[in-house]
Each structure stands twice: as C-alpha cells, then as structure tokens.
C-alpha cells in the first residue's frame, strides 16, 4: 500500500513538472515595453520593431536579411534598396538575353536580402 501511494505521488509530481516545462516552452515572453510605462508610444513602436522574435524552445529563430537584423540608418537602407533594384534589373536583363531557369534564379549579392 505504501509503495502504491509513493508511486502515485511520484507520478503526480512528474506530471506537474512536465506541465510546467511545457508551459514555459510554449508561453510568449513578457513584452519588455509593457513593463516600462515611461516609454512614449512612438518609441515603443520602434523598440517593438527592433526586437527580435521571442526565443522559444524547439523553434529556430527565423532567418532575417542583414538589413532587417541590423538597424541601419534610413539613408543607408534607401541606398541598399536602390542597389538591390539595380542588381535585380541587371539580373533580369541577363535572363532576357539568354532565357533559362538558372539565370532566372541566379544568386544576388544584394545586402538587402543577404
């Protein structure tokens, strides 16, 4: 009887530990901005944008392009976009000169997407 009770207690304890671990793995992390009431709404938006995706167990963080991962000044970002358009334009021109699948999907060196 004592063995049976001990086994039941251990099972319940094990189940509770599993539930806590599962809850921790699947719960969203607390928004850091919500915890700081002094932050203005505009700033809050910027911080939220800049924040990376919340870390979760079993989930790999999404691969973001370099431009999204680092907070570049807007002038630099616009130059990156312009450079990207030029490179894509040139790649499309190459494809039109000799249309084939490999040229259509040739890799780009654009910093906007790499």
């Amino acid at each position: 009887m004592e063995m049976l009770l001990m086994g039941a207690c251990l099972s319940v304890f094990g189940l509770a530990v599993c539930c806590l671990a599962f809850g921790a793995a699947t719960r969203d992390s607390v928004n850091p901005v919500a915890a700081s009431p002094g932050v203005e709404p505009g700033v809050e938006k910027e911080i939220v944008k800049a924040a990376a995706s919340p870390a979760r167990f079993f989930v790999d963080p999404p691969m973001l392009p370099m431009a999204a991962r680092t907070r570049v000044p807007i002038e630099a970002l616009l130059l990156q976009i312009e450079n990207h358009v030029r490179l894509e334009h040139a790649a499309a021109e190459c494809f039109l000169e000799s249309p084939n699948a490999s040229l259509l999907h040739s890799r780009t060196i654009s910093t906007l997407v790499n």
Binding site: P62, I74, L78, A91, H105
Partner: protein
C-alpha cells in the same frame, strides 16, 4: 537619331518630321518631369542626361520614392501618354540635367493618321519598349517570389 528607340526603322527625314512635332524641355537636376497619377499628354524621348523612374514605398512609416528604372539618351519615357487612361504610372525626375523631346499625343495621332506607315513603325517600336519592360519586371517579380518562398521554407 538612329539611337532613339521609338524611331528605329524610320528614314532620317521621316524621323526628323516626327521629332519636329515635339518641343525640347530641359529638366534641372532633381526636377520632376511628371508625377505619378498626372494626366499624360506627351511621350518623351531622352535627348541627353538621365531620368529616374520611381514609385512611392513605405519605409519605416515614411513614404519614399524608390527607384524602379533609369532612362538615358535615346530611350523613351512616358508611354502612358499613348495608352488609356492616359495617366502616368510612375514619377520621372532628373538624376542630372536632362533634355527631353516632348511629343504631344494629339500631334502624334494626327500625324500618324496622315502617315500610317510611320505610325505603324512607331507602334512596333513602342510595342518593343513596352514588351521589354513587361518581360523585365516579370523576371524581377518572379525572383522576388522565389526569395519569399525560400524564406518561408527555410
């Protein structure tokens, strides 16, 4: 004149007569030739300089004009003037001081009605300009879709 894409295949004197329908316009550096949504009354041939064709895009909550294409000497800009609903679908501004020949739609239509052979040649050239733009952007669009798919599947 042989370098003007819209007038390819025309005899020099015939090309001169078409050009005589237009007037030369100089756009200073940074100046706008036309704006997205404006009524398109004239098609433009770039005589010298360089034009930036841009579209508005939201970048960090600000509207920015993003380069879509560049046009330089001998190239045609603003073919929306010949295609209903006659509204520009891009903004054109000068990357540096640029001179264009503005050919009004009304003048071209009247001339082509009287000279159908010239109208046919110019129409073929215009088809090439539009077709090339379509193929180019089709390829660019597909490359972006491919990248999006790769990011989704990563």
């Amino acid at each position: 004149m042989a370098d003007i894409d819209l007038l390819k295949g025309l005899a020099p004197d015939e090309a001169e007569r078409v050009l005589a329908l237009g007037k030369r316009v100089v756009v200073t550096t940074g100046g706008e030739l036309f704006h997205l949504g404006d009524a398109a009354e004239s098609i433009y041939l770039v005589a010298r300089g360089r034009l930036r064709l841009t579209l508005p895009m939201q970048v960090r909550s600000h509207e920015e004009d993003i380069l879509v294409e560049e046009r330089s000497s001998g190239q045609t800009v603003g073919w929306s003037a010949l295609i209903p609903p006659y509204r520009f679908t891009l903004t054109a501004s000068a990357a540096l001081e640029t001179e264009v020949i503005a050919l009004p739609r009304e003048a071209l239509n009247s001339y082509f009605a009287a000279h159908p052979g010239t109208g046919y040649t110019v129409s073929l050239n215009l088809s090439s300009v539009i077709g090339h733009r379509l193929q180019l952007f089709q390829a660019m669009w597909l490359r972006e879709i491919q990248r999006m798919v790769e990011m989704r599947c990563a």
